[in-house]
């Protein structure tokens, strides 16, 4: 080959990979077995062989602009067949973790969420925030009596006032979670936009036409979302096929709980304002067990715990049998979702048993874990829900006429 390239390896990037579970990257000798055994890899420019050598060379700019890194679902077939134990699946996982940190906004927060060192701070922020608001709003750690607790549940967690249009509890819950959610949504958008731009840039060339927002959604994003929900690619995996059994219930549980949250918001905060006294009291209390929505919530909570439990078990098994490296990146999300499920279901059970002090404590932990799930979403493994979806949309874009025109292209 006559084209020469000056390789300027980024040593810090290689060091980061080694710390984030990609320590085996140096073992790769480029036999390319991985690219063939990968069930998700395309025929033209397949992965992960090329990513392995880019990683060895420290070419981080290429890697974070490479949609293939995100199209990888860590099936583990490459790792199982790798003749050198270079574990391409783990290396790509580490590159994804790096990319999320790289695209994270603001950078300080993203860096904090990138390693176990930041974990105490990640927990401390919501503990202090929610703890202080609880202490202030609730008037000095007031615990309800057993009777009061039975009637209102966690409805007076942040205390109670007599302002008709907005209860004190809802005010504080919204005060904490709406900004956190909006912030995470904004940060995700910024990160995803930055990634899309980098990926487009890496395609090279000048494109005369850009998709409109509607075209983008209809032609690229929506099919990617549908494909994700169907777990099409996951199902092609060989070695770690079992993860579908955990991931699918987990995704469905999230959707169910999203619906329940929406229902709860509408019924308590909107509908209740316009109905009679009796119905309002009903709507403001805990949703009765017989209500189908409550049933859905409980099923969702159990599916969540079971789903993440399966992923937990699979991960442990992979670490034991395939020598997959244990990383903060992977375990944080598993632990985090498990915490959300256990504290949520636990708080509900203890409420039904009628022990206010313990129930309040669990509820507090539940709020803390949900806050962490929201706020740190764009920087932790949870970010895959945004970045991978966008990458799958980009894959469609890359194959579309916008990039490779049918006439006169290439």
């Amino acid at each position: 080959m006559s084209v020469s390239m000056r390789v300027e390896p980024d040593l810090d990037f290689i060091k980061y990979l080694k710390s984030a579970g990609g320590d085996s990257v140096k073992k790769c000798y480029q036999c390319a077995t991985c690219s063939v055994v990968c069930p998700l890899s395309a025929d033209g420019k397949p992965f992960p062989r090329k990513e392995m050598i880019w990683a060895q060379w420290g070419l981080k700019d290429r890697l974070i602009a490479d949609p293939d890194v995100l199209l990888c679902h860590q099936c583990g077939d490459c790792t199982a067949n790798c003749p050198r134990g270079a574990k391409p699946g783990d290396v790509l996982g580490a590159i994804r973790a790096y990319a999320y940190t790289c695209y994270g906004f603001p950078q300080g927060l993203a860096k904090m969420c990138s390693s176990g060192k930041g974990l105490p701070m990640m927990i401390l922020i919501p503990v202090v925030l929610i703890g202080v608001l609880f202490a202030l709003a609730n008037g000095g750690m007031h615990l309800p009596s057993v009777e009061e607790f039975k009637e209102v549940g966690f409805g007076h967690f942040f205390g109670h006032w007599d302002f008709f249009w907005l209860t004190k509890n809802v005010f504080f819950i919204d005060l904490i979670f709406v900004p956190a959610f909006l912030f995470a949504a904004f940060a995700s958008f910024k990160g995803a936009k930055a990634m899309w731009d980098k990926m487009s840039e890496s395609l090279g060339g000048n494109r005369e036409f850009r998709p409109s927002v509607v075209q983008f959604v209809v032609e690229f994003l929506a099919p990617a979302v549908v494909e994700t929900l169907q777990h099409k690619r996951f199902n092609q995996c060989g070695t770690n096929q079992n993860r579908v059994k955990g991931h699918l219930p987990l995704v469905l549980a999230f959707l169910a709980l999203l619906f329940v949250t929406g229902y709860s918001f509408l019924s308590k905060d909107v509908v209740s304002l316009f109905v009679g006294e009796e119905l309002r009291a009903y709507l403001h209390g805990p949703i009765p067990m017989a209500n189908p929505v409550k049933l859905l919530a409980n099923i969702g909570a159990i599916a969540l715990i079971i789903g993440v439990g399966i992923l937990w078990a699979n991960r442990s098994q992979a670490e034991e049998e395939q020598g997959t490296t244990a990383t903060f990146y992977d375990w944080f999300l598993i632990g985090e979702i498990m915490a959300v499920g256990i504290t949520g279901l636990g708080a509900e059970l203890i409420r039904l048993l009628g022990i206010p002090s313990l129930a309040y404590f669990l509820y507090f932990l539940h709020l803390v874990s949900i806050f962490m799930l929201f706020l740190y979403m764009p920087y932790t493994k949870f970010a895959h829900l945004v970045y991978r979806t966008v990458a799958m949309a980009f894959e469609r874009y890359r194959q579309s006429a916008f990039v490779s025109p049918a006439v006169g292209g290439k």
Partner: protein, 418 residues
């Protein structure tokens, strides 16, 4: 002269294995005056080399080299040779080993002239192990055309003892009541020249050996090309005997792979290049594709590689084959990623040769004799115990290296036997 059990002077050498390495070690030790026993589990000497069509890089047949060694062996009264014999146990210590051996019955005595009348009369057949099961012999058979000793042998598993061969034999050479014999030797040192086996191709599940007749191993290719092979030297596809119009070679089939053989088997690249010359002789125009990780042609072999790489009909693709698909027409499609262009390639071939590596024979039996081995099963020579290794029992090697380190092992065995 040596007697049945021990040598006249203390300090005999036992050589385990009668391939090119064992022969070399035994002859070198005997020719400087040591008393040597050489044992071989097959009915013939010559080992893997005898199965080759040609050596690389000079492309001469294995009779060149083996014959002269057989001649040296015949003329040397210090060597006692036992075929069909294996080690059962080893006791004692350096300088004073008692080795118990077992000789399986050949059922044919030294009256045999290898006239072949017995085989003509024999009604039973067996898979021909020498040709890697690609054809059959009678239950009484000659191992191969240049078997040494040149004597027939009966496969006890295939024989029904019908007695037709006894009637056919004009020399009273067949003894159906021959029994296994266990005996003990006193020796001072032992040279293990136990050689290698081709790595079991069925273990690479993604290469799907066995799913198609078009997938063969490199040792099968040697037999196909050899004059005494199942096709009398014509390279034909097993099963349908089609003349292949295209060929592909899969390098590192099991070698350099921690899931199989973690080391480089050293010979497979050169064996493939050599086998391309077999193909060229018979199919001057057939396209050949070689899939490799790195082509390893060390030292002077570089020239051989250069010559073969100049062939315009041979394509070398850097990328390991990770999937082989059997096709309806009897051929196969090999799938790899070309690591230079970065695209997946699918190559259709009528015959795909898996360049399988060497698995040391000692891997499975070394532990029971207290040998020190590395984790791959290669025997580590130990002067303190006077146990030495030679040839491919020591490391994956070509014939030249094997004879060199066998001579070295002989020297060490002599020193340990003084």
């Amino acid at each position: 002269m040596t007697d049945e059990r021990s040598t006249p002077v203390a300090g005999g050498v036992l050589v385990v294995g009668g391939g090119i390495s064992g022969l070399t070690a035994a002859l070198e030790a005997a020719e400087v005056g040591k008393d040597v026993f050489i044992i071989e589990k097959n009915p013939y000497l010559g080992g893997r080399v005898a199965q080759l069509n040609q050596y690389f890089p000079k492309l001469c047949p294995p009779s060149c080299g083996l014959e002269i060694n057989f001649k040296r062996l015949k003329n040397n009264r210090r060597i006692r040779m036992y075929t069909l014999t294996e080690v059962k146990s080893v006791s004692g210590s350096a300088g004073n080993y008692q080795v118990t051996l077992e000789t399986k019955p050949r059922f044919v005595n030294s009256n045999c002239t290898a006239c072949g009348a017995c085989a003509e009369a024999c009604p039973e057949e067996r898979a021909n192990a020498f040709n890697l099961g690609m054809d059959k012999t009678k239950a009484i058979y000659k191992s191969h055309d240049m078997a040494f000793p040149m004597r027939y042998v009966i496969d006890a598993d295939a024989c029904t003892k019908c007695g037709k061969c006894i009637e056919a034999c004009a020399y009273q050479a067949i003894e159906m009541d021959m029994a296994a014999k266990t005996f003990t030797l006193d020796v001072a040192s032992i040279v293990w020249a136990t050689g290698w086996n081709p790595y079991d191709a069925t273990k690479m599940t993604n290469l799907k050996y066995g799913s198609s007749n078009a997938i063969i191993t490199n040792m099968m290719m040697e037999r196909l090309a050899a004059p005494g092979g199942p096709t009398d030297g014509k390279i034909l596809r097993p099963g349908d005997n089609k003349e292949p119009a295209s060929f592909a070679f899969v390098q590192c089939a099991g070698s350099r792979d921690e899931n199989h053989l973690e080391y480089c088997s050293f010979i497979c690249c050169m064996a493939t290049l050599k086998q391309i010359t077999y193909i060229r002789e018979q199919y001057p125009e057939a396209p050949v594709t070689v899939f490799y990780i790195d082509l390893r042609s060390p030292g002077k072999y570089e020239k051989f590689r250069e010559k073969l790489m100049a062939d315009p009909k041979v394509t070398f693709i850097k990328g390991k084959v990770a999937d082989i698909i059997a096709e309806a027409d009897g051929g196969v499609t090999l799938v790899a990623e070309n690591a230079v262009t970065g695209d997946k390639v699918r190559v259709k071939a009528d015959l795909a040769v898996l360049a399988t590596g060497m698995e040391p024979t000692a891997k499975s039996l070394g532990a029971q004799f207290g040998l020190s081995m590395d984790k791959s099963g290669f025997i580590i020579a130990d002067e303190a115990t006077a146990m030495f290794s030679a040839g491919c029992a020591k490391k994956a090697a070509d014939v030249v290296t094997s004879t060199q380190n066998s001579t070295a092992a002989a020297l060490k065995a002599i020193q340990a036997s003084r």
